[in-house]
């Protein structure tokens, strides 16, 4: 299977879920899909194509949030990034932990840093932030404000 065949099969299998395909470079392609379809598309890539799940990344955009799930198909030397956009009023998406356990920690990290709720995650608690971090404060959001009155923000020179 080469790159064009893979993209063609994705289009045929998920005709109503695919929004856009952006071919960034010879080794990189972005596939924008609907949030409802993420589990099925990820399952297809992981189980049937044999793609490797690298990492997911969350982005706080101007009017919506994005999650990019990066997969590598090693046989054809291709990185596929599944892009999902979530409206800021409804920040939730199905968890991929039922497909591969490697999604557990990165979903916990996106949850604590951006406040996105992953439905079906077995233990959605904090990964890296300290215990005394206040509830409901998400540091990588665009509207994050300093909450700690003891923080020192000048260099003292």
């Amino acid at each position: 299977m080469n790159r064009q065949e893979l993209l063609q099969e994705l289009r045929e299998r998920f005709p109503n879920q695919m929004i856009r395909v952006f071919e960034k470079s010879a080794k990189r392609v972005y596939v924008e899909i609907k949030p409802e379809a993420i589990v099925r598309v990820a399952e297809y890539l992981f189980r049937e194509i044999g793609a490797r799940f690298n990492i997911a990344s969350g982005v706080d955009g101007r009017d919506h949030m994005e999650i990019l799930y990066h997969f590598t198909v090693e046989e054809i030397d291709l990185v596929i990034s599944l892009r999902v956009t979530l409206p800021k009023t409804k920040l939730e998406i199905n968890s991929l932990t039922s497909v591969f356990t490697a999604a557990r920690w990165i979903e916990r990290e996106i949850h604590e840093l951006l406040g996105i709720n992953f439905i079906g995650h077995p233990e959605l608690k904090r990964l890296l932030l300290p215990e005394d971090w206040p509830q409901g404060v998400y540091p990588l959001r665009k509207d994050y404000q300093e909450w700690d009155p003891n923080a020192v923000r000048d260099r003292g020179v």
């Binding site: 890296l128 300290p130 923080a151 020192v152 923000r153 003292g156």
Partner: protein, 146 residues
């Protein structure tokens, strides 16, 4: 200068603490231990346990998870104890000054005796700082004594 102080300043054992630094300061400090710079000629030795250490050497920006751990290490050090901050991150947090996870510089957490600036400081600068520390300590203890 008493015999204890004399022995202390001639055999400073160093405990190296990296509070999430980028490893560049750590590499420069490890360079000090190599035969080229050979910090052991001043009696300094790297030790693996904080309970054997005379000097706590900190590299990296202090983050929220680290603050209670640094305090705990500092409390475990036997007295007399010295603290050396190496690199811009330990001094003023460098580029992480506005980071949500780095609320304060090192000297707001524990008292610091020597600041060695640089990103990273050269091994020569680290050695110069440590020698200055020894000299100033000597001057303090011999003051007012014949």
């Amino acid at each position: 200068m008493g015999i204890l102080e004399n022995a202390f300043l001639k055999s400073l054992w160093v405990f190296h603490l990296a509070t999430g630094s980028c490893n560049n300061c750590d590499i420069e400090f490890l360079d000090c231990l190599t035969p080229r710079h050979d910090i052991e000629r001043f009696g300094m030795l790297l030790t693996g346990s904080i309970k054997h250490a005379d000097v706590l050497l900190v590299t990296g920006a202090v983050n929220r998870q680290c603050i209670p751990r640094i305090k705990r290490l500092y409390e475990q050090m036997p007295k007399p104890r010295l603290v050396v901050a190496i690199g811009e991150c330990a001094l003023s947090r460098g580029i992480f000054v506005h980071s949500y996870n780095c609320p304060m510089p090192l000297d707001h957490v524990i008292p610091v005796d020597v600041y060695i600036p640089g990103c990273p400081p050269k091994p020569e600068a680290i050695i110069a700082g440590l020698v200055k520390l020894i000299e100033s300590r000597k001057a303090q203890t011999t003051q007012g004594k014949p």
